[in-house]
Symmetry: C2
Subunit: 548 residues, 2 copies
């Protein structure tokens, strides 16, 4: 007697809504498209709770550690703000303030008893994408067939964050399958961008993007196999780190296409500043994740790499490559202006900017697209058929069930091509350095061809996914906002191909007005310390270092 | 008009033999089974050449750097000794003394002109397994169909060793397909163990094992996906390092099943001492291999890890696990005695030894065996069919063409099982440390169930391959020699299974008398510095630190 999937999904959705205490419900009937000011104006948060949730994580952990803030108060503030966030952006797949407050209370008791914190994140609420397992809760990842299955243990990262003192209170929404950059599933429907409900918050870590964007979260944990950390960061004017594979623990998390290792999904933080990204990374590395997840490299936080980058920024200055067009899809005018702004700002501040020719990005994008589809969608369709729910429309673009999957020989060939391409790319980088007679410290490029996008218009993943194929470290830096006065439609645009034509055709200065614009700073593989330091400096020069 | 494969193979074999200058040919007609003393007694080497080839690499590079030795003299000595080595063990697939001497001459000229070396290996001859490409030479890997194809560029490792000053002079033999631990192919036939021609030198880096064993080489480069560095090291009383994946560059090398990434083959050194292994590793890492091979982790030589291990050895002492039976195949008496000897020697010297239960090694061995066979031998059979040469008998055990290969979904499941197993193994290690209240620094175990084996008797790979599945760092330490007086057949042996019965049934105290016995020291992933330091201490305590 299997229940109809609609019933199961509706019951789960009701459970999420019921998890919000009645006294935290707000009237959403007369809100406009932009809900960014609702937390401050709806009257639910006290002044102190507004202050707490508007702080940086770095400040909060310092205050929690010196006793000037209590974990229960910080947790309460973020639970309330996340409750608002879910009501206005539909960002949650699990919300559990009771469990969070119990955890916070225990931390306060520990602090009182021992006069010290349990770890570097003592009492800090952290928002989790619904791939991370928390003992006792569901991890549905937006799949109806995974509802009502309760986790019996934490994921490795959850356990280490918990050990570091983090408090969990929300698990955020994802698109069915994770394999698209908008956030929609058959359980909760669609998550929206708090800056404009007609825009996507991005995906697949879109619930994180929305929740951290409106400060229902201070640090959110996302994952990225083709842009899923970077796109939500970009679309919500946030910083985000896509670490290289092997730096952060993915062990025991839920995933699509589990066991697929040709291109690894990676896990990393989304936050309002680089110092907060760094706090997350350092806190996790301090827990020696390589002792628990075999895929993590035993590479502690390298302060010397950070220090060397800072010294270079202050001394001889940086040398950075840049490009704004990958040769497949031309970005919209706001993105071109964003790259220009970063380049000119850096030049004005004495850094050297050089043209970086995007080496065979078209090839890379084709290759990784084939990798995503290497089982021809079998994994996804198997999970869907267990409940009978339909696929979301966005998946069909990516996984074509009329194709047959790759066989082993084909897969090995693809893996060999990937390796060769990666090595060729390194040689291009080396050649540039030989030509310059110095290091090229990183390069700057778009993340998407568009600013925060209208629903159902995300089409081209290549700016993000080429970097996944290379496994380079990437940090998102928010730059500016689309401006209908500045970002005029390019009337002389000549499309390179159909995709290019369609994407550019959808530019509309009015519809995009105010949408966040970002770039990614791309470093060599496993250069998280250095690339974050560069991103921090760029944010500082742009004047986007923190602020709400 | 394709030539018959026998003709092609015979011509290549003739070319190898012709590459030995006539004046370096020796009379092999009246040699016994053990040829270890031939280099010193055959009259071809001068006293100074005997001294050079009996030195350590560490000494040689010091003398080359201070000008007391010339690259041409060192190269000449090793070319002559390798010529002898090939004549008595059949270890070469390429031999190129002319090219080597030209390279050495250039290095001497550089030194004379600039008063300094080109790099840390200046003038040191290094022996290469015939997977490493050297511009201008063939890489056949024992396949007839790859004869007459000349490499147009160096492998990444070759190029970096060259940059460090290494001289190349020989490429050594491998078994057809690389996937077995004896060394036989249809081009040159079988390589034999210099200690007894009835024994195998191991495989697949068996040509390296034989050549370095008889000191036709001082540091040899091998590869290991299931024991191929460790078995030849063990069978030739040598030290060998199987680094974890990502530490040493494999880029642009030839391989079987190229693009297979479920379990990575790794490349590493075989030598007469740990300091020589370390010289190799440090010299390669100094060249920043991660800038050329995308799979290499940017992890320079960590002197602090080495120093901490040395300090622990001298201070609080080591804590090491050990076991002598993986629960699948019981080792022969000489191996059991070898493990006992290591354990008792360490205990006598104040170190703590604890029982390490080999967690699910039977499962690991099955899993990796399935990975080796995941294309059901298609890759190998494709290469064989290009020339028409038959498969060597040993391959049939491993790759069964009557099975169908895995599909993508099966492969992903296997990869997921591998990851879970690795994480479970880490938790067992963590639990042991919790129980002990201190670190377990490494564990000691057999490499094979047998001492250096008679031809065609290598059957069980599990002691080696379980460690490949775990990707732990492993260092081979030579321990002792089988002794018919001490290593009596176990008459009360009760087999656990058919393989166990067959392996134990083949023990013959007389036939094994004098065969090298070794153990492996297994550290956590990417602990090359620490595990080598531990192995060095064990060798020192055993009195096997160097000597021929």
């Amino acid at each position: 007697m299997t229940k109809d999937w609609r019933e199961v999904a509706a019951a789960k959705k009701q459970r999420i809504n019921d998890s919000i205490p009645k006294e935290w419900l707000i009237d959403t009937s007369s809100l406009g498209a932009n809900v960014m000011d609702v937390p401050a104006t709806c009257g639910l948060l006290s002044k102190s709770e507004i202050n707490i949730t508007n702080s940086s994580a770095t400040d909060l952990v310092a205050k929690l550690a010196n006793g000037s803030l209590k974990a229960v108060d910080v947790t309460t503030a973020f639970c309330k703000r996340a409750a608002i966030s879910h009501q206005v952006t539909n960002c949650a797949l699990e919300f559990f303030p009771e469990m969070a407050l119990k955890q916070a209370k225990e931390l306060d008791e520990f602090y009182e008893k021992h006069g010290r914190t349990v770890g570097p994140l003592h009492g800090l609420p952290i928002s989790l994408k619904d791939q991370l397992r928390v003992k006792g809760l569901e991890t549905t990842m937006g799949y109806v067939s995974w509802i009502d299955k309760y986790d019996t243990e934490d994921s490795v990262l959850t356990a280490l964050l918990r050990k570091a003192g983090a408090v969990f209170y929300i698990k955020t929404s994802v698109p069915q399958s994770l394999m698209v950059c908008e956030t929609v599933n058959n359980i909760t429907g669609r998550s929206v961008n708090p800056r404009n409900k007609n825009w996507s918050p991005g995906g697949s870590s879109g619930g994180e993007g929305a929740n951290v964007g409106i400060r229902g979260g201070i640090i959110g944990v996302g994952t990225d196999i083709g842009g899923s950390i970077r796109v939500p960061s970009a679309f919500n004017f946030l910083y985000g780190l896509r670490p290289s594979h092997g730096r952060m623990p993915y062990g025991k998390m839920a995933n699509s296409m589990e066991g697929q290792e040709t291109v690894h999904s990676v896990v990393g933080p989304i936050a309002h500043s680089v110092p907060d990204l760094r706090l997350f990374v350092k806190s996790v590395l301090e827990q020696q994740p390589w002792k628990h997840d075999s895929k993590v490299i035993p590479m502690p936080w390298r302060q010397s790499e950070h220090d060397a980058a800072v010294q270079k920024i202050q001394g001889e200055k940086l040398t950075l490559g840049f490009f704004n067009n990958d040769g497949v899809v031309m970005p919209h005018p706001p993105i071109l202006r964003g790259v220009d702004k970063v380049v000119s700002t850096l030049r004005e501040n004495g850094h050297t900017l050089v043209d970086w020719k995007p080496y065979k990005h078209d090839y890379a994008v084709d290759l990784i697209q084939g990798i995503y589809a290497s089982d021809a969608g079998k994994d996804i369709h198997t999970v869907l058929s267990e409940s009978g729910e339909p696929a979301i429309p966005n998946i069909n673009d990516l996984v074509d069930p009329t194709r047959s999957g790759a066989d082993i020989t084909t897969l090995w060939n693809v893996q060999l091509q990937k390796w060769k391409f990666q090595m060729e790319y390194l040689e291009k980088w080396n050649e540039m350095e030989e030509k310059l007679g110095k290091e090229m410290d990183a390069f700057i490029m778009p993340i998407t061809p568009t600013a925060a996008i209208r629903h159902n218009q995300f089409r081209y993943y290549g700016y993000a996914s080429a970097i996944n194929l290379l496994d380079f470290t990437s940090v998102v830096v928010p730059v500016t906002f689309a401006d209908k006065g500045l970002d005029k439609k390019n009337e002389r645009f000549k499309p390179m191909n159909d995709m290019d034509k369609q994407v550019q055709g959808e530019y509309d200065a009015e519809a995009y007005h105010g949408a966040p614009v970002a770039v990614q700073i791309v470093g060599r593989r496993l250069t998280e310390e250095k690339t974050m330091a560069i991103a921090e400096e760029i944010g500082r020069l742009l004047g986007n270092a923190i602020t709400q």
